[in-house]
């Protein structure tokens, strides 16, 4: 961005997107407001199409490879499934959108949002960078040997085509909802649905998976496993119960319950709010409340922290695996710690382990510093993001004060509303982000492997979607046949 200063006087970063405008496909805005039912169907189907896209990659090496998954604990948040088309999930579109919007908010990228042309260019820029991120990530993983050590050129091209193609598709899929064909944001819908599916799978999954050489099988779902354990021949009753709570090769009840409890706490936090009483300046005696939520920026602060975490770990992976080859005793491994390889995962050693949540509570005892560094990292990045985001996202205290003025309301008992709002909104968003960060850190440090952060983002996304759905239902849900089918209750 600094380069803009001394190149052509009128050059702006978004102009880079100009040549792409013509051939990067764009989702059209709906002609007019879509009916309530259509939006529900669009939102649900989009998310389901995403889930359906988890096809295993073709042309990768069969069997186990020496390079294991280095980002396993980041997958939950971004709905990424290893060794499928959705290897990187929705990380690139989310990270690109958040970072470019922050940069635009800081005026580091000059965008005039009141001009249609500029908005289009900015959107296209986000799309291109997102797809480019998919391409870069794909090639980092291919070159590292994650898909197999000696892939032929054809195989490499094939994997590239699959991952980038899927990434392109996902970017557009998210845009469908973002552009108003569905509710709230596409990324939110996808995270919510993929996490809820994961939870159902972890608790009630009926798929039988072979667990040992004797051909014994156990179901994936922890609760189903508990029930089935009572009848299994290869386990005693007590053994079955203990096994259901602490098996580590498949989801167990302990982590399942922990995720549910965490979700419950997020639900609670989501409903903590500061209710400002407001009164109309036009109609006497009209008093209402304007809630300022504790989680003012919702789960976005966690998403941002995890985006930063993703970049850090990808960078670490590039240096250690790609450049250093993860060789014991090499200079890079002495400096950067290298990876310890387990059956499925690459566990980072010190110093990268400072920002890697442990795989279990016992693993935390071996890396006690992580307790502080990881928590501090989540809090600092989360609070920093929340403070800045509320400022630039059109919901800052100034924007709300303006909104009040337009609607003819003022705060009761306060004369200077903007001053009061200026104090309250940044505090709310920062405090909320810190609370959420502590919660997620607690869950992750107990060994949830990304499910803790995932559930926090998913629940807050679900609330955000529900809020938009409720408002829309009250406005034009009158003829909704979905609502009638569900018994006519308001959603």
């Amino acid at each position: 961005m600094a380069g803009c200063m001394f190149s052509a006087p009128k050059f702006r970063l978004i102009d880079l997107a100009k040549p792409f405008l013509a051939f990067v496909p764009e989702i059209e805005l709906p002609y007019d407001n879509l009916p309530f039912d259509d939006k529900i169907v669009f939102t649900l189907t989009t998310a389901l199409i995403y889930l359906f896209g988890q096809f295993p990659l073709a042309a990768i090496a069969k069997g186990s490879v020496s390079v294991k998954d280095p980002i396993f604990f980041l997958r939950g948040v971004f709905a990424a499934e290893p060794r499928t088309l959705l290897e990187f999930g929705i990380f690139p579109p989310i990270a690109t959108a958040l970072i470019l919007q922050l940069l635009a908010g800081f005026k580091l990228i000059k965008v005039n949002f009141s001009q249609r042309k500029d908005r289009e260019l900015f959107q296209t820029l986000i799309k291109i960078v997102s797809i480019a991120t998919y391409a870069v990530l794909a090639n980092i993983f291919i070159a590292s040997g994650y898909y197999g050590e000696d892939l032929s050129l054809v195989a490499k091209l094939l994997i590239n085509a699959q991952l980038i193609g899927a990434g392109f598709f996902v970017t557009l899929l998210i845009e469908v909802i973002d552009k108003g064909h569905g509710f709230a944001s596409g990324a939110m819908a996808i995270v919510a649905i993929s996490l809820s599916t994961g939870l159902v799978d972890d608790l009630f999954g009926i798929q039988q998976i072979p667990i040992d050489q004797d051909g014994n099988k156990e179901p994936r779902g922890a609760i189903i496993n508990l029930i089935q354990g009572f009848r299994a021949k290869h386990k005693t009753l007590l053994g079955a119960i203990v096994n259901a709570f602490q098996r580590d090769y498949l989801p167990n009840l302990t982590t399942g319950l922990l995720v549910v409890v965490l979700g419950g706490v997020v639900c609670y936090l989501q409903n903590v709010r500061n209710e400002l009483s407001i009164k109309s300046t036009k109609v006497r005696g009209m008093v209402n409340v304007y809630p300022i939520r504790l989680l003012y920026t919702g789960g976005l602060s966690i998403l941002f922290s995890y985006c930063v975490l993703f970049y850090v770990h990808i960078l670490g992976f590039v240096v250690i695996q790609l450049i250093g080859g993860n060789k014991e005793g090499s200079i890079i491994n002495t400096l950067m710690g290298g990876y310890e390889s387990t059956e499925f995962f690459y566990l980072a050693r010190f110093p990268l382990s400072l920002l890697t949540p442990p795989t279990s509570f016992f693993a935390l005892l071996q890396q006690p510093l992580t307790l502080f560094t990881f928590t501090a990292f989540l809090i600092i990045t989360g609070v920093w993001f929340a403070t800045n985001w509320q400022e630039i996202s059109g919901s800052s205290s100034r924007d709300v004060a303006k909104q009040f003025k337009e609607q003819g309301v003022t705060l009761a008992h306060h004369r200077e509303e903007s001053k009061d709002l200026i104090k309250i909104i940044p505090v709310a968003s920062a405090t909320g982000a810190a609370a959420l960060a502590v919660l997620v850190a607690a869950g992750e440090l107990l060994g949830l492997k990304g499910k803790g952060a995932g559930i926090a983002v998913a629940i807050s996304s679900a609330f955000a979607i529900l809020e938009v759905v409720t408002v829309d239902f009250q406005q034009n849900g009158g003829q909704s046949s979905i609502a009638q089918m569900l018994g006519g209750r308001p959603a």
């Binding site: 649900l44 998310a47 389901l48 889930l51 359906f52 988890q54 096809f55 295993p56 073709a58 919510a192 649905i193 993929s194 809820s196 599916t197 994961g198 939870l199 159902v200 799978d201 009630f204 999954g205 798929q207 979700g263 419950g264 639900c267 609670y268 409903n271 903590v272 709010r273 500061n274 209710e275 504790l294 609070v383 309250i424 505090v427 709310a428 920062a430 405090t431 810190a434 629940i459 679900a462 609330f463 529900l466």
Partner: protein, 70 residues
Amino acid sequence: MAKKNPQFEKLVETPLEFVKEGNQFLQKCKKPSKQEYLKIIQAVGIGFVAVGVIGYIIKLIHIPIRYLIV
């Protein structure tokens, strides 16, 4: 040292102030009552499981497809 002192003070004070302000805000906040909370949990729980089951059906469809491809 004399020059560094105010900086150091600021470094200590900022988080303290942050915690203080946050606490003040939290005290002013309205927390959901038990009944309200149970209702929310119920609604979110049902919604989550319902959507999860739909998603899981999609996942089940995937299992035979995977057998065919791999």
